[in-house]
Subunit: 358 residues, 2 copies
């Protein structure tokens, strides 16, 4: 297949082309070592160098001090973090902001360990906005929020203030913008959107919160053990981490400010088209629209066949919406090129033009 | 570096050369799709085909009926299984056979959920044998054993009979030999030895044991959920699973009988040299010697420098023993070529010859 594809998948998703090239090469011969990245020992100096550079880059990019924070590359996705966060830190009450599916899943796991207080929810409007007012928040072990909801396409434009520890699921917008990461005591992200391929989960944790752990926690779920063992309590997912390292280098070089600016440009182009094209309508309230996942519907569902045909012919893939929203979702992660957004916009214009001719 | 390397690492470890070639290619262009294996959606038909073929091949190779058993590719390594096994199935007493480090870790995690009864242990001789007699085993929720101990180099040559459910950690010898996998109600293996790169964990479970689950279990640790969700409760580690699929195809083509025979040949060559070379001595009692991990020491530690120098010059890597055994460990997983064993044997002979000349 020679046609260029424009990959709008919600994750796993597109990564920078040179990450594909470098990881592909590393499988045949890692840094001229004569060994494949797939066969090196996780205790080898080769991997130790890769791993420590990746862990340091995370803190460096997030502008966090390595004396205060620890970065971990674990396994099991955000779904495992839903559990670990509560297992380690929920003893009485924890506050959760419910912005949809992922928050709800985090709340479900947390209920096994303590009281889960829903501080706010946008369920009343099928999660098409970010709630701005929160219930009384005294006496909470922590506040948990999802910075970006991949399914509904909502995003906290700023992180609300709380007196408590804030813990954030940043799976779908980590390192997509220049925010103050030090407001979080813990944040985590499945790699498979802005970081790298599926198979590892980044966790950044403020070391001092470890002393809040009061119960006996199984080793593999215990943050203290992962910190003490330098994120190598058991065999880390070597390849996924190496791919993340290559991407983190790119992120560091480009800088979060520049990345945020490009992401905003891409999102603006697409939202502008949605707002100005009579065939489409956005799903999310304007002020809460995600720059990562753009959700929209056709104003007339009878046009779906023609829109999808045009997309297919143009190489646009991965824009089907999640079943809970319907319609379409275009994910504009860091690695998605502006040219791909322009192709999608052209497809949308073509639909409008064809419909108007009828 | 042009010299051929002989990779005896204990895991992650050598994989078949064509797995390196095919996975490398799949990162640039998966099956002429125009997409990288790293960017396809885990909900895409491309990945669904990969995943269902991998899951079916596991059962097919193990000669297990898909109506009775389910195969899962999870994350978190054997260390996560230590926890999940007990969380799901330990309510009163469970019996563990302690053959060293890995068994001990499994026992440690299990103690959080019920009584752990050590049925037998080889600790008295630093785990250099497989215990053959077991304490009274009535009234156990299950019996857990480690079929091959990677660190000490011991291996159950046959699986002992028990009236209870047998659960096995097969991380370092799965699909290395033609045994009756139906004796287990559950077996698991971190991929990074005989299956594929680090990053996924194979679990095969008899479906009917699910009804034994009596407590509320966090979703990500719940076998029932993983079975019900076809091993896609959350984003699976796509790349690691694809690499496993390619390797499972090789295993299926070659057949376990033939693989076992080759592995025995490789191990025999090395153990013969250990037994006949005056400079070396084996660590494990003869009848319990592992065909996967061959542990041995120098009879005179003063010869370590010369042995390691010769190995280095010959491209032999990854033979340092685990600190709890000392000396050397050569791991002879499926993908290690007989030629590599011959190179190691030549190194050992060279040491003997040099020492005798002195």
């Amino acid at each position: 297949m020679s046609k260029k594809l424009h990959n709008f998948n919600a994750g796993p998703s597109v990564l920078p082309k040179n990450i594909f090239e470098k990881t592909s090469k590393s499988i045949l011969n890692l840094n001229e070592s004569g060994l494949s990245i797939l066969e090196i020992s996780h205790r080898s100096n080769q991997f130790k160098d890769i791993f420590s550079e990746a862990r340091e880059l995370v803190l460096n990019i997030a502008k966090l001090d390595s004396n205060e924070y620890s970065s971990l590359f674990l396994q099991g996705g955000a779904s495992t973090q839903f559990l670990m966060v509560a297992y380690n830190f929920l003893y009485n009450n924890a506050g959760y902001i419910n912005t949809g599916s992922w928050s709800a899943k985090a709340m479900k796991e947390a209920k096994l360990f303590g009281n889960v207080i829903e501080l706010a929810s946008s369920k009343d409007k099928n999660y098409n906005y970010i709630p701005k007012n929160y219930n009384n928040t005294s006496d909470l072990d922590y506040v948990h929020l999802t910075t970006n909801n991949t399914i509904y396409g909502t995003q906290f434009k700023s992180i609300p203030n709380f007196n408590q520890s804030i813990i954030a699921d940043m799976s779908s917008d980590i390192f997509s913008r220049d925010i103050d990461y030090s407001v979080f005591d813990l944040f985590y992200a499945g790699a498979q959107k802005n970081l790298g391929p599926a198979g590892t989960t980044l966790v950044v944790i403020k070391k001092e919160i470890i002393k809040k752990i009061q119960r006996e926690i199984p080793s593999i779920l215990n943050y203290k053990i992962h910190i003490d063992k330098d994120s190598s309590f058991n065999t880390p997912p070597v390849f996924s981490i190496y791919a993340c390292l290559l991407n983190l280098r790119e992120i560091k070089t480009k800088g979060l400010e520049s990345i945020e600016s490009d992401n905003k440009t891409k999102a603006d182009i697409l939202y502008d088209e949605i707002d100005n094209n009579s065939c489409f309508v956005g799903f999310v309230e304007n002020e809460d629209r995600s720059n990562m996942n753009v959700t929209f519907n056709l104003t007339d569902n009878n046009n779906s066949e023609i829109f999808e045909k045009i997309c297919k012919e143009s190489g646009v893939i991965g824009i089907n919406g999640h079943r809970s929203v319907g319609g379409y979702r275009a994910s504009l992660y860091n690695a998605l090129q502006i040219g791909s957004v322009e192709v999608l916009v052209t497809c949308m214009k073509e639909v409008e033009s064809l419909i108007n001719k009828k």
